[in-house]
Amino acid sequence: MTEPVLSLRGISKRYGPLQVLKNVDLDVYPGEVVALLGENGAGKSTLSGIIAGSRAPSDGTMTWLGQPYAPAAPRDAIDKGVVLIHQELQLLPHLSIAENVFIGRWPMKNGMIDRAQMVHRAQEQLARLNLHIPATRKVAGLSTANQQLIEIAKALALKARLLILDEPTAALGGAETEALFEQVRKLRSQGVGIIYISHRMEEIRKITDRIVVLRDGERVHEFADSSTPVRTIVESMVGRSLDRMFPALPEPSSRAVLQVSGLSSPDGSFRDVTFEVHAGEIFGIAGLVGAGRTELVRAISGADPISAGSIRLEGMELKLRAPSDAIAKGIVMVPEDRKDQGLVVGHRISENIVYANLDKLGGRWITAGMKRVFAEKAVAKFGVKGRAEQYASDLSGGNQQKVVIAKWLMREPKVVVLDEPTRGIDVGARAGIYDIIVNLAKQGVAVIVVSSDLEEVLGVSNRILVLAQGRQAGILTRGEANDVSVMELATI
């Protein structure tokens, strides 16, 4: 084989007493896709950051095309051709898509930015990902999926020799993922080295050539062949065997808890939606990206206004003017975007958990001890890898997601809405979350799960509502639902 583009030797990273990476070696060769796998908090993003120059390693050396490599800032890495797509979106909402795509490297003519050229080239990049939004539009207000695609276009616009993708598909649906893979394959054939990070096992097998597994910051395994059975890979990741993903679903009662009828949004992102969810039922909502699933559940939880229709809880019609109204009635929502809607990232985990439970903490005087005890209970119950007093920003992406879920489920609600609940969560923990969901149902809670991961909706739902372009395309029972029937409804 040829010389590796990048070699890591003995890379370690400490945060104070916490050792996040231990002695990691890694080689990436041109024209190959290396999968980097590991549980939440295993150190994948940290390692990517080190390679891309945004964090400094505590120890170890890196070699770039045979030369010593120690980027002092992201700029140094970009100049060499190391491009990282971050796990969290890194976009500037007030600027246009085109400016975001070429951020810091805008096309120039005579010392001035060539705006026409910039827009034109950005539009080309978007087209490669099947995205046909005008590149002159501002980023603010775009859906998460589209923002993720722009983030990818941003990376593709740079001339990469090593491309790192940190969970690029966590917010994407099947079609977008396919468009991305096409680009990845093209780059691979051009000899670009690629590191691919994901928690979606089927993707790993589809696109990667080699698999490296991290556990607790150590490199524990390498599979030279991506056709290794998922079971084996997962075992080496989690360190134990995982017998099943989806637990058996309980039988829902016949008592309808939530009844939605003729619901429409003022901006038409969903229209005339009618369904009911029973106690102990898990109700899935599926659809393509942009189908209006998020808007629908936001309306149900009082976050957005509605223009027509009604929402009834246990027979009582609700007038929801703000999320507080819904919460008071026992409807809670785990939002789609943890960074902007789920967490105050600059605050401690305990604070974040308390924010959603201020009224639950016995009376209205809250001592530090009460907060800590409450938060520690939540952290333990939902398997967050972190201490209650840590800042949310210091957690890995998946663990942040667990905090968001914990924060809401501590309320013991009647209706739980989960929008993309396992976004960025590792396989092991995902099984844990499914257990939590099923347990909720067993206690008689009505659960709504929105997910772009078809396997997930199919696996945990008693019934599935399919939305297509904001219309209700149909409701499938567990018996009727499968890949084909859902996709058929979603695309009509």
Binding site: S324, M333, P335, V344, V345, L358, D359, E389
Partner: protein, 327 residues
Amino acid sequence: MVAIDIHEQSRPSTTWRSKLTGATGPLVGLLALCIFLTISTDTFLSLRNGLNILDQITVLGIMAVGMTFVILIGGIDLSVGSVLALAMMVMGWTANIAGLPIGVGIVFALIASGLSGLIVGLMVTMFRVPAFIATLAMMSAVRGVANMITDGQQIVGFPDWFTMLAIDRHFGVLTATVFLMLAVVAVAWLFLHFRSEGRMLYAIGGNPEVARLAGIKVQLVTVLVYVASGVLAGLAGIVLAARLDSVQPSSGLGYELDTIAAVVIGGTSLSGGAGGIGGTLIGVLIIGVLRNGLNLVNVSPFLQQVIIGIVIVLAVGAETIRKRRVA
């Protein structure tokens, strides 16, 4: 690389210190300042001077509490100086021109200042005018109204019991006004730390959308915070009236910057969501001790301005240096 590490350095874990969130540097600065002044003058370290300093910071201290609330939710209030003047004039007019009891004047003054806060709150929440603009506009308009009450004239002379509130040192130590300030600070501290409404301010400042989705009534709380800031500025005006035994519509000019400075020096972040009353108290004390101390060491007024600038930076910069050492 250094820069990066600063960015990532692990934050100190919870200890008693974290109650002062970000204010350890300023606290060190305050102590250093006090030690320096004790050594270089023979008048600084005395009970009498200590009590003087407390007297001198009452007005700033009370206003800074309201400003801490406002800044914690990510807002700003430039109108406090004008509202202080309005409250003074309303009270003075009610007591000395309309001839009602001064107690009624105080109530009217607090209502007027609360109303001004309410208008700000509604502009910010209902009409989405940025807080900076809304309070800047109020700063101008309220000053105009304060002036119009007496056509720019001062009002002098209140009942003795009223002015004695700022003079009489009960038990030989605290005047009623100083006691009032300490009570306001203590209540605010308890409120922020132990009341769920207090924690709401942090949540809103941290991220208003997250707070809204968490079921917090962001708009209501925001309005109430501006009302609180207005009422506290009005209260400060009444204290000032007692202290000066007179009211004039030009009072409190430029106090908004002093007040914001005290809060920010105390480690409360202007972007909201971080900080607290403990820090604000330290910030107020730094400003108070600095002004008092520089008068005592007899520095020329122009040089004083330079020194004040340097000390403020050092007090706040100490925080950075401390963090570097920890990292």
